[in-house]
C-alpha cells in the first residue's frame, strides 16, 4: 500500500508541477462553463415563453433540460481530454528510461500500475469536483433534484475512470505519447459509437453491441437511474484495462 502511495504521490506531483493538469483542468472548466451557460440560457427562454401557460410550466424540468444534456456534453469533453492526461503515464517512463528505476525497485508491477492509475483518477476527481461548483447556482436559484445530479456525476466519474484505464493501457504499449493518445482516442470513440452499428443488426449481436457501448450505460445514470449493470460494466471495463496493462508490462520480460 505504501508503495502504491509512493508512486501515486509522485505522479500527482508531476501532474501538478508541470502545466499539464492546470491547462487541462482550466480548458475543461471553460468548456463546461460555456455549455452550462448556454443550457441555462435556453432553459430560461423556455421558462419565460411558458410563463403564461402554467400547465406547460409544470412540464419544465431542470434536471432533464439542463443536467442530462450537460452530462452528455461533459462526457464528450472527457473523451477528448482523457487521452491527453493518460498518454504520458508509461510512455514517458519508457522514453526517458526511468522505467529501469521502477522495475529494479522492490515494487510489483501491480503497485506501479495502480499508483499511476490512482494519480490519474485524482486529476479526474479534481476536474469533476471543480465543475460541481456550477451546481451551486442551480441549487441557489432553482430547485433541481439532487439524486439525478449525483448519479450523473457518479456516471461521469465511472466513465472517466474507464477511459483512463483504456488510456493507461495504450500508454504502456508505446514510448510515443502522441501514438498513445491517438490510439486511446480512437478506441474510446469507437466504443462510444458502437451502438450505432446495433441499428443495422438484430438478435444477439444487437444486444452485444449495445452492451459494449459506453453510451448505453451512461444514459441511465444521467437521468438518475442507478442500475448495477451499468456500474458493473464500468468496473469490469476498468479491470480489463488495468489487467491488459499488467500483461503488456509483464510481457516486456519475455521479449
Amino acid at each position: 500500500m505504501n508503495n502504491i502511495w509512493a508512486v501515486c504521490k509522485k505522479e500527482i506531483k508531476s501532474y501538478f508541477t508541470s502545466p499539464i493538469a492546470y491547462v487541462t483542468i482550466t480548458v475543461f472548466l471553460v468548456l463546461v462553463g460555456f455549455f452550462f451557460q448556454s443550457l441555462i440560457w435556453w432553459f430560461n427562454m423556455q421558462s419565460l415563453q411558458m410563463a403564461r401557460n402554467p400547465q406547460a410550466l409544470q412540464q419544465l424540468n431542470i434536471n432533464q433540460m439542463v443536467y442530462a444534456p450537460l452530462f452528455h456534453n461533459i462526457s464528450i469533453i472527457l473523451l477528448l481530454m482523457i487521452p491527453l492526461l493518460t498518454m504520458r503515464l508509461f510512455s514517458e517512463e519508457k522514453r526517458s528510461k526511468t522505467d529501469e528505476l521502477l522495475y529494479t525497485s522492490p515494487l510489483s508491477v501491480n503497485q506501479i500500475i495502480l499508483g499511476k492509475y490512482f494519480a490519474s483518477l485524482f486529476v479526474l476527481l479534481v476536474m469533476l469536483a471543480l465543475n460541481g461548483l456550477l451546481s451551486l447556482f442551480t441549487f441557489l436559484f432553482g430547485n433541481p433534484e439532487l439524486a439525478p445530479v449525483l448519479t450523473g456525476y457518479l456516471g461521469l466519474f465511472l466513465m472517466g475512470a474507464a477511459f483512463m484505464a483504456v488510456g493507461i493501457f495504450f500508454s504502456s504499449l508505446t514510448d510515443n505519447q502522441i501514438v498513445s493518445a491517438v490510439l486511446t482516442f480512437g478506441a474510446l470513440l469507437l466504443f462510444w459509437v458502437l451502438n450505432w452499428a446495433s441499428f443495422s443488426t438484430s438478435g444477439i449481436w444487437k444486444d452485444v453491441l449495445n452492451y459494449i457501448s459506453f453510451f448505453q450505460h451512461f444514459d441511465g445514470l444521467t437521468r438518475g437511474i442507478l442500475d448495477t449493470t451499468d456500474i458493473v460494466y464500468y468496473l469490469s471495463f476498468i479491470f480489463l484495462g488495468l489487467f491488459f496493462t499488467h500483461s503488456v508490462i509483464q510481457s516486456r520480460k519475455w521479449r
Partner: protein
C-alpha cells in the same frame, strides 16, 4: 556474493550474452570491461532483475535472480547507463521518492537522503530541478540514487561516462571509498577505470567471457607471470642489455635504440639492483617507468581477437 553461471541472453536471434560465468567476492569492486555492445549492460540488467536470462543462473547474495527478484531488488543499488532521472523534480524530491520506493523505513528516509546528498556532494543543488543542473551533477544524482538505501550490492553501468577529468576523479574516489562495505560491479570500456578503482575485472567481448580474475591474476596470466620496467638510458648498446640481464632476478631484456624493457618474474622485484647497476656503471638514466599497462595490452589483444580464453 555475486555468482553468474553459464548466463545466456538472447534478443530474438541476437545473442547478447553467451555462456558467461564469473563470481565476485563480498566487499570487492569488480570491473566489467569490454568494448561497446559487448554485453555489459545486458549482464547488469539480468543481475538487477530488469531482464530475465534466456539460460543460465545468476545469484546475488544467495538469492536467485529468477526465483527471488524481490529479495534482490531490496539489497541492490543500480545506476543504469541512461540515468533514470525525473527531470521535472528537484534533486531532493527525487531522492525522497527513490527512498520511498526502495522501502527505506519512514524514520530513516530523511537521514538516508541527507547522507546520499553529502556523500555525492549534492548539497548545493538539492533544491534545484534536475533538468537545470549540469551533466556532472546529474551523474552524481544517479549515483546517489544507487547508494541511497545502503545496498549490499551496487551495480554501476558506466558511472563516469560524459564527465570531465576532475569529475571522473571525484567519482572514482567516491566509488573507492565504498570498498569493503559494499560489493560493487561497474562496467566500463575505459581501462584506467579498472586499474585505478577495481580489485578485479571480467573482460567480455561479443557476449563471451575473455578473461576474469583479480588484477594481479590477469596481469600475470597474460605476460607469463612477468612484471617489469621500461628504462631509457643515455646510450643504446647491446653490451648494456647483457649487463642488465646478468642482474639476479631479471628474466628478459629487450632493447629498442636506447630504451630497454626489463622483465622479471611476478612477485620478485630486482628493481633496486637494476638501479644500483645503472648508477654504478654510470649509464646515464633518463627515464624509468613501470610496465603497468599490461592489462591494456591484454584488453586490446582480446578486443582485436588475438587471445582466446
Amino acid at each position: 556474493m555475486i555468482e553468474v553461471e553459464h548466463l545466456t541472453k538472447k534478443y530474438g536471434d541476437l545473442v547478447a550474452v553467451d555462456d558467461l560465468s564469473f563470481t565476485v567476492e563480498k566487499g570487492k569492486i569488480w570491473g566489467l570491461l569490454g568494448p561497446n555492445a559487448a554485453g555489459k549492460t545486458t549482464t547488469m540488467r539480468v543481475l538487477t532483475c530488469y531482464l530475465p536470462a534466456t539460460y543460465g543462473k545468476a545469484t546475488v547474495s544467495g538469492f536467485d535472480v529468477f526465483e527471488q527478484p524481490n529479495e534482490i531488488k531490496k539489497i541492490i543499488g543500480y545506476l543504469p547507463e541512461v540515468l533514470p532521472l525525473y527531470t521535472d523534480m528537484t534533486v531532493q524530491a527525487y531522492l525522497q521518492f527513490v527512498a520511498e520506493i526502495k522501502q527505506v523505513p519512514r524514520e530513516r528516509r530523511r537521514r538516508a537522503v541527507g547522507h546520499a546528498l553529502d556523500v555525492c556532494g549534492l548539497g548545493d543543488v538539492q533544491g534545484r530541478l534536475i533538468k537545470n543542473i549540469s551533466k556532472g551533477y546529474r551523474q552524481r544524482v544517479g549515483i546517489a540514487q544507487a547508494l541511497l538505501h545502503d545496498p549490499q550490492v551496487i551495480i554501476l553501468d558506466e558511472p563516469t561516462v560524459g564527465l570531465d577529468p576532475a569529475q571522473i576523479r571525484e567519482i572514482r574516489q567516491l566509488i573507492s571509498s565504498l570498498r569493503g562495505e559494499h560489493t560493487i560491479i561497474l562496467s566500463t570500456h575505459i581501462l584506467a577505470e579498472v586499474t585505478q578503482t577495481c580489485d578485479g575485472a571480467v573482460i567480455i567481448n561479443d557476449g563471451k567471457l575473455m578473461a576474469s580474475g583479480s588484477l594481479e591474476e590477469l596481469t600475470s596470466s597474460f605476460r607469463g607471470g612477468n612484471d617489469g620496467v621500461h628504462v631509457r638510458l643515455r646510450d643504446g648498446e647491446d653490451r648494456i642489455s647483457e649487463l642488465l640481464r646478468e642482474i639476479p632476478g631479471v628474466e628478459d631484456v629487450r632493447r629498442r635504440r636506447n630504451e630497454y624493457a626489463v622483465e622479471w618474474r611476478y612477485g620478485t622485484s630486482p628493481i633496486d639492483d637494476i638501479l644500483k647497476c645503472i648508477v654504478d656503471k654510470d649509464l646515464g638514466l633518463q627515464e624509468m617507468r613501470p610496465m603497468s599497462m599490461s592489462i591494456e595490452d591484454l584488453y586490446l589483444k582480446i578486443i582485436s581477437g588475438g587471445v582466446e580464453q
